[in-house]
Symmetry: C2
Subunit: 346 residues, 2 copies
DNA sequence: CTGAAAGCGCTTACAG
DNA sequence: CTGAAAGCGCTTACAG
């Protein structure tokens, strides 16, 4: 590999001068030597060594995206927009996948500190009850070592956060179903340790506001997979016969569609369905899913903004709140009639 | 940030000794000083600086995955398994997304050379006719700078390759349809500049073997999206009335399902459908798609094996061939009857 | 306009 | 068992 010294030697110049011109630094250099340097750099196939630059500058121009899963549609789309903005800002990005294993998250933290990344986009991994506490430890560990962090969704003390008001999104979705006349509304939750509690509260509050007491019979827990959505729906259909179902993600909502099909229940004729997030699959199924969409482009912009602030050290950590949006497609319809009145419990 | 010098100074030792023990190098050190160093390293919260290590060792322990799109299910799954193996081998991975833009691929090449990555997993971006030539240039550029490369799918001179025999997979899928009695088999291709020519040849050869001359009327081009699959299917249905359709990816195959639904054509009763790759969506639609699956786990293993060889410089570049597998699910059935005999052209 | 020199934080052959 | 020193490839304040 050719270095600035090779160029300097060949031209009888100093490395300092070569460094200045190849970096386009604002520093007076005669036009002639500039040309000579640029030319021979080209001829020799010179490529600056980013590692050496990083060491002397104390900056790596590198950002990590730490997340629970890359095969989950939400994160895939998240990575797509965030990575795009990161590289647009002149950084490279380390992809750090925990595979929903908190111990791998913790391991990544160490690696990222040692790699001296300039910042990390932190999507906490939490599936088990204790995970949340470990997330906090991990964020603190980064902060202790001076690594700027922006957290997605969850709040971790003195660190910036982009927060999508899933409570509000959830509430709106259920409001919508209520407006359509539904009163028997099932809720398919995710892992209990996850952030879906906010989604549940939005659901519950909407019901209460309309004088309906949330009934545990209408609430089931899945694991975010298609198959679990199907199972949950089957159970709801059997035990609560809802006229509408709200699921906390898309895969499970699609599972609901499948369960309905198996039970010969028409969607949306006999059963309305709403999902959360807006993955491509939501428009590839029949009927196309009505969903609560998280504003990915805005999220990406917020993430980069907050991260830049944190890196520059200009502003104090802060949180940017974003609102999800209800996208009405074809999976919802007015409640058909008050079938099964006798079994209504609320 | 605390350095080995800080530890050395505090203990009245040399940086060399500290370096040796914190790295667990095989070099005699008294048990006492080892303990002292380890203890104070712990107390001081010492973290080795990977950047400095990289510079002095001439190795960055970093691998890049360069790909056309991260929102495409195939690449998402590919990244999931490959990144997992890469980090398992002690490397971190740079995610380099070209967004199907060849000029961004070229830009990444420069960045990766300058970052001195230890290797790159190269999934060529090609959508336009000229892209292929640029892919070759890019691979050569990496090689010229001594960066080990393993290419996926395409062949690029003196560089290792993992090759999935999509010709064979395609041929088998069409054989299967022929076995079911289908003779009017539509083919939905991707971008013409892509690798799907091999898939087309598999299709064409299977037909010929059964005495059927491939008819251009049965061949249409989509852009790999769901919507284009739908459009292509609509056109095929209108102009060629096939009894089976084979699409070169899953999204388009799902689009075929949607088109059939709109036209009140039963799948698989009146139309059989096969897709390529095996994305999660293929099992979330109705009916579940029969597909040609690429063996991701094996691909991942092959990639890492080849990359290791290239990094160690032990073996000459070589290619590992893998075979896709036909996964029979619910979207295919025997050809119902010879409807529309009069219009058969072959 | 150009350069000498120290520094970034580590590794490692060479001595002792 | 321990250390002095050079080297990895840059940057940049300081001189001239």
């Amino acid at each position: 590999m050719v270095t600035i010294y090779d160029i300097a030697r060949k031209l009888g110049l100093s490395a300092a001068t070569v460094s200045r011109v190849v970096n386009g630094v604002d520093h007076p250099v005669s036009e002639r030597t500039r040309r000579r340097i640029l030319d021979t750099a080209g001829e020799m196939g010179y490529r600056p060594n980013t590692i050496a630059k990083s060491l002397s500058r104390g900056r790596t121009q590198t950002i990590a995206i730490l997340l629970p899963s890359i095969t989950n549609d939400f994160y895939t789309q998240f990575v797509d927009v965030v990575e795009n903005k990161i590289s647009g800002a002149g950084y490279s990005t380390f992809l750090c996948n925990t595979h929903r294993d908190i111990s791998r998250e913790t391991a990544w933290i160490g690696t990222l500190i040692e790699r001296r990344v300039d910042g990390v986009v932190f999507c906490p991994t939490r599936v088990k009850p204790g995970d949340n506490a470990q997330n906090l430890n991990n964020v603190r560990e980064l902060s202790r070592h001076g690594v700027p962090v922006v957290a997605i969704g969850s709040h971790f003390g003195a660190v910036s956060q982009v927060y999508v008001d899933t409570y509000e999104g959830s509430r709106e979705a259920v409001e919508y179903l209520l407006t359509l006349g539904h009163r028997r509304i099932g809720f398919i939750d995710g892992l209990s340790a996850g952030t879906s509690r906010r989604r549940f509260r939005g659901y519950a509050d909407a019901l209460k506001k309309h004088g309906i007491t949330p009934d545990p019979l209408f609430q089931v827990h899945g694991d975010l997979s298609f198959e679990s959505g199907r199972q949950c729906a089957l159970r709801l259909l059997r035990e609560a016969s809802p006229s509408a179902v709200f699921a906390v993600n898309n895969n499970m909502a699609v599972g609901v569609l499948e369960a309905a099909r198996e039970q010969k229940i028409q969607v949306p004729g006999q059963l309305s369905v709403i999902g959360f997030d807006d993955s491509p699959v939501s428009q590839m199924v029949y009927p196309r899913l009505t969903v609560v969409r998280q504003p990915l482009e805005e999220i990406g912009k917020a993430v980069l903004g907050l991260l830049s602030e944190a890196i520059e050290g200009k502003n104090a950590p802060r949180v940017i709140r974003l609102k999800p949006q209800l996208i009405r497609r074809d999976s919802c319809a007015p409640e058909p009639e008050r079938r099964g009145q006798a079994r209504i419990r609320f």
